[in-house]
Subunit: 311 residues, 2 copies
């Protein structure tokens, strides 16, 4: 995955994604004593950065593969992204979703024309069900985070951010399956000017933090976090990139996530999902580290059930 | 209030306001079968268009008047707007607020440096207290909606919208005290290309609708609407402008307001207050009227208690 591959991916997916705005809040800047530039992927098509990875993966398929369709398992945003990207590219999409996934997310997948297959809410159940569909239909499996094309697609959010703000000292992104932070790290490496990448992760699902310590992929023992998009674990494609290019991971507790989310809602008047608030919570937790810096934060998505808020 | 006065006002207040973005949603466009351009005053300083009118009124003061300060009575957005605009212009602001006003609103006014004077929670007590401060201090009274400088300031939201989209067929705004719709109507008259202005108003507080019918300023008998910013009534400065330049007022019920608000939250990922959803509710109610048109909607503000939502 060299610089040219990233640039080419960005060119190929441009017709299928929005170039999202970069917003600032002087009040939040004052709170931290830094300049924070928020890359608003909550305004992305279907409401999350996942659209970039899904479009990238489907655009890369051969004509024969496109005719058999695609299959994925996802707790929400990647499901919608695959459904919408597949629809735009006239490809059939099979979406394996946990039965307890948020209502709005299931409805959105249906609205985008995806075929939902429900399963139990464990990583194992999701994987098995997707495998069965793959065998039955010949559809190509798309992984939400551990696939080169997806990581390449994800990198384009930070590429756009760095095009607008080439002088950023640090970019932060949340760490769930590792696909966004890996893509962000590649973009910062190739397009940044000595720009560090820092991940934000809930204490409750700190597999990535522990993986970086131990040098091998660790699993979560609980999924007890409000940041429902971050309950997954790293994979063999993105972990080496994270090891090589991510400066550190900052962990935050549940109260900090909810406080950061509420602050962004109230002060910026934009809707972000809990997972999306984790990097800003990390900045608030370790303010001294970020003092006077030029910071970019990838606001990863805004798909939240507004009738069930954590505050 | 001629074209030059509007242009001059815009120039004078520019240092004190944000030029807010204009956003679109292809999904909401498809729902209506029209092109809708949302002017996002929820992203304005202090979170509402009121900042424009407050800045305009304070900028217009003489040096002698500025030294004596300004006074207003409001428990809502205008209180915050006057406090912040006065702070920016180094003018003292006296804000009369009912003693039972929500703590968060008082805190916001204090945070912007306003001096709060508490009074009993009746319109009479507010007016009397403001009058007393006026007499004691020589401060200039600012009215939230029925004052030429405030109307001129409010007009600048639509001026900016028309600078970006000069081809709009219709602009909609909510109708409360009448200051925003009057300013919007002036802007459309002078800067639009045969651009109509339509107001949105809740059935529960339809004083403006009835005033246009009867030809004189009518009062509301109840204040039973979720759109808490629209419970006030028209005044002698804005009513003649509304009579002359506003095409019509469309009334909507409470369910329609809440549905429109939720749609904008979920689909556009932005936070708007209930009053702000009224014009979009009007478009949804009378879709046929708006079919295939180029529409502008002033999203008036985003100051809502996110822990107390109507859905």
């Amino acid at each position: 995955m060299d610089k040219k591959t990233l640039t080419d991916t960005h060119q190929r997916i441009k017709p299928f994604i929005h170039r999202t705005p970069v917003l600032k809040s002087s009040l939040l800047d004052d709170m931290v004593g830094a300049q924070i530039h928020f890359k608003c992927e909550n305004f992305q098509k279907m409401g999350a950065f996942k659209m970039r990875g899904a479009a990238s993966a489907i655009v890369a398929l051969t004509e024969a593969e496109r005719q058999k369709g695609v299959v994925t398992h996802s707790s929400g945003n990647f499901a919608q992204a695959v459904a919408l990207a597949a629809k735009q590219l006239k490809v059939k999409a099979y979406i394996v979703m946990p039965e307890n996934a948020p209502r709005v997310k299931k409805e959105a997948v249906k609205a985008y024309g995806g075929n939902i297959i429900e399963c139990e809410s464990t990583p194992e159940a999701r994987e098995k069900t997707a495998e069965r569909i793959e065998n039955e239909t010949g559809a190509t499996f798309l992984h939400p985070s551990n696939q080169d094309e997806v990581i390449l697609g994800n990198s384009t959010a930070a590429i756009e951010l760095l095009q607008e703000r080439p002088d950023l000292d640090i970019i932060l992104a949340p760490v769930g399956g590792g696909g966004l932070i890996a893509g962000t790290a590649l973009a910062a490496h190739y397009f940044g000017n000595d720009c560090k990448v820092i991940g934000g992760e809930p204490f409750e699902v700190d597999d990535a933090y522990r993986s970086l310590k131990s040098g091998k992929i660790e699993r979560n023992t609980t999924t007890n976090t409000v940041a429902d998009g971050l309950r997954t674990y790293l994979g063999d494609r993105n972990f080496p990139i994270i090891q090589k290019y991510v400066d550190r991971i900052i962990r935050v507790d549940e109260k900090e996530i909810i406080r950061a989310m509420k602050l962004i809602w109230e002060r910026m008047k934009i809707i972000i999902e809990p997972s999306c608030a984790v990097p800003f919570a990390a900045v608030l937790r370790e303010k001294e580290r970020f003092k006077s810096k030029k910071i970019g934060i990838i606001l990863s998505g805004g798909n939240v059930d507004v009738t069930k808020l954590p505050f």
